[in-house]
Amino acid sequence: MTTAATQAYIARWGPPSVSVSAAGFARAAVARCGDLGRERAKNLLWAAARLGDYGIALGMAAAPEVLLHPSVIERFAAHSPGLSPSARRTLRTNLRFIARRVVPALRPGDAPLGRERAKPPYTPAEIAGFLALADAQPTTGRRMRASALICLAAGAGLTGGDLRAVRGTDVARRSGGVVAVVRGGRAPRAVPVLARYHARLLEAAAFAGDRLICGGRDPHRRNVTCPLVSSLAGGTGLPALDTSRLRSTWLADAAALIGLPAFMHAAGITCSQRLGDIIATLDPGDEAAVVALLGGSAR
């Protein structure tokens, strides 16, 4: 549809369910929004008209400077009666769009900032390189601690405080696999370790005994892993060791193990927020089932 046709559509828009003054406000506002398709214009007209009806009923002037003020849009979106949550979000987005076009001075646009994406997982060759570096450490203790760091982060997805707090006794062979128990922190849990890290991790755990498996005496000391990470810096042949990337590696391996990519592709899901809401109500299963799923010998 051409712009002229859209403008004509906007000019004659006026459904009977919308008051005359609100429809007039909506037409005047959307006409100043620039090039729009007919569907987009219709959605914006409805949003502006709903806002107009709400504001006029509260005695506000049907002027863009008043009704499209960020405060009024927020009040309408949050407190207008009879709207579903999704309708509120859609209306607010559309109204903010109109406000940016019609009264840009009321709310200057945000400066574009970079967005953090998930860190890329290490390749199996890179993981093998890190393990080789761990084996090349000069002392037994450092070899064990470096191996434990890589195995727990890439094999069980532990990072930060969870990783620092693991003791040798927290790693055990049980339920048909090897499990690392996270005792403190935000989410205490038992995490199955991927099969290919079992031998190294068990050896490191036996060496640590009841001491912290990655070294140090105080798990709350934040830089426990720093010396280990710096000792595993592999020069130009390997990327820097990052526990977050090690966790990404574990996430990718675990997702592949349970067939998550195929499931999300089939479900047409790209973002997991709603999936998380749904899974929160489901039974996570017992430890044996989890170990069989994530701690199997396939990887």
Partner: protein
């Protein structure tokens, strides 16, 4: 003795009015057969029987009493020549003497102090002790009372009733909505329920009458002010814009000073913004934030019978307006001064001039463009309001909020009192009802008519209470009146 006659005599004796009038009458050489008490009894019996206020009817009513009552009241006495029944001439003579005794020396169209005291005493005595304190709220209204006299011819001022004058009345009949009449205004104050209180019998507690060239609102004020002096506290006074439009000194200020709380409709000329005080907008008897949306300040009352959708929209706007009101911080001091708080400081709205208020939830209105040069009401937490600010329009509830609408609906008690006085089935005070000229005899008859109306109301009230108790014992709810109003939507709906 009939129950009604007993009630009438009890009222007369409790009021002491008959005795006071009797004392005012000139002493006669011969014994006066018809006393003031008997005449007033006859007047009330006449009205209770639904007859017009004619002296011939008074005599008929008295002569229709049982012989024992006639002898007790002096309607029939034994003369030397034998039994003598009351004559019309005696009835007329005593009436004339009473009217002369209660009238002013120079009639000016206003009742004398003695006549007003008679009306007050009689009406107060007609209210049973059980109902005297059931409510302090009064609904006030005035109505027209035509005189029997023809108006003066063009170019002259002489007529049979020189105290009467031309007045204006509004009619609900087809044709012109307003018309002139020649006669008097009757003002009355009827008891009505308290705000959100239980129903009470709508008894007329005070009345006054005056020529149409006297302001009926000003005439009612001293009558109402005499109530606190008599130990009857004033509560809510519910009145229409006819009273509210008067000068503040004529109506609102004296009543407020006597302890009354006004609930009144505002005249269209008094509605909306009417100046400022320390920067705050004076509108509808309240002070509002200077940045209140102008459309809200123009909010008027709903018309009668508004549909539910209109009522909801109106209440939403009234609630939005209330958020912009400067709330009362203190009560009135001895001089009538009080302090009010900025709505943003009170947390009712968000205003950039009060940074703390901007942290409040967004369900509150926000002042989008605060004044560049903030007035005192924006820079101070509170401001002092002297009694002369909105003296005429200040009232109990925010005008025209839902609370005000519910409270103001009680004013119909006064309308019902007026309508029963003009009920063609019982007492109809239309022209010809009373054929006596002058304010005094007419006021006497009107007072008696209101006493009889009070008795009718009490009888109906007792019957309704009895019926409600009977229904409650049977597990039924009280009987409610059937809705009479039929909307266009109901008519358009398929059967």
């Amino acid at each position: 003795m009939s129950v009604l006659l007993e009630a009438i005599e009890d009222i007369l004796d409790a009021s002491g009015a008959a005795a006071q009038i009797q004392a005012l009458l000139p002493a006669s050489v011969r014994h006066r057969q018809l006393t003031a008490r008997t005449l007033l009894t006859g007047m009330m019996l006449t009205l209770a029987d639904g007859r017009p206020a004619h002296l011939t009817r008074v005599r008929q009513a008295l002569l229709a009493l049982p012989q024992a009552d006639q002898e007790r009241l002096g309607v029939t006495v034994t003369w030397k020549t034998g039994p003598h029944q009351l004559t019309y001439r005696q009835t007329e003579h005593t009436t004339r003497l009473i009217a002369r005794a209660l009238a002013k020396d120079q009639p000016d169209g206003a009742p004398s102090a003695a006549l007003q005291a008679f009306c007050d005493a009689l009406l107060e005595a007609s209210i049973p002790a059980a109902h005297k304190n059931s409510s302090s709220a009064l609904a006030a209204d005035w109505t027209d009372v035509e005189t029997w006299s023809r108006p003066p011819r063009h170019g002259s001022t002489s007529c049979a009733d020189p105290e009467a004058s031309w007045g204006h009345r509004t009619t609900n009949l087809p044709g012109p909505k307003g018309e002139m009449f020649f006669g008097y205004y009757l003002s009355l104050a009827a008891m009505t329920r308290e705000d959100n209180g239980p129903p009470v019998p709508e008894l007329t507690r005070r009345m006054t009458a005056g020529s149409c060239d006297h302001d009926p609102a000003r005439a009612l004020v001293p009558v109402l002010l005499s109530m606190p002096a008599a130990g009857i506290p004033l509560g809510d006074i519910i009145d229409d814009s006819g009273y509210a439009h008067r000068d503040a000194q004529a109506w609102a200020i004296p009543l407020r000073r006597a302890g009354a709380q006004l609930v009144q409709d505002l005249h269209p000329h008094d509605r909306g913004p009417r100046g400022t005080h320390d920067g705050a907008i004076i509108a509808n008897g309240c002070l509002y934030c200077p940045c209140t949306p102008p459309a809200l300040l123009q909010l008027g009352p709903l018309p009668p019978g508004a549909p539910a959708g209109d009522i909801a929209a109106h209440d939403q706007q009234a609630a939005e307006l209330a958020r912009h009101k400067l709330g009362k911080h203190t009560g009135d001091d001895a001089d009538g001064y009080h302090r009010v708080t900025c709505p943003a400081a009170a947390g009712k709205i968000r205003c950039p001039l009060r940074p703390q208020s901007m942290t409040l939830d967004r369900d509150r209105p926000e002042i989008l463009t605060p004044p560049g040069h903030p007035p005192a009401c924006c820079t101070q937490q509170t401001i002092t309001v002297p009694p002369d600010v909105a003296a005429k329009t200040r009232q109990k509830h925010d005008y025209p909020s839902a609370d005000w609408r519910r409270s103001y609906s009680r004013r119909t008690s006064a309308e019902r009192a007026n309508s029963t006085l003009k009920d063609t089935a019982t007492t109809n005070i239309a022209r010809g009802w009373c054929r006596l000229f002058g304010l005094t005899p007419l006021t006497l008859w009107l007072a008696c008519a209101l006493v009889i109306r009070n008795q009718r109301i009490l009888i109906a009230w007792d019957a309704r209470q009895h019926d409600n108790a009977r229904r409650a014992a049977a597990g039924l709810p009280p009987r409610t009146r059937k809705r009479r109003r039929t909307s266009l939507a109901q008519l358009a709906a398929p059967p």
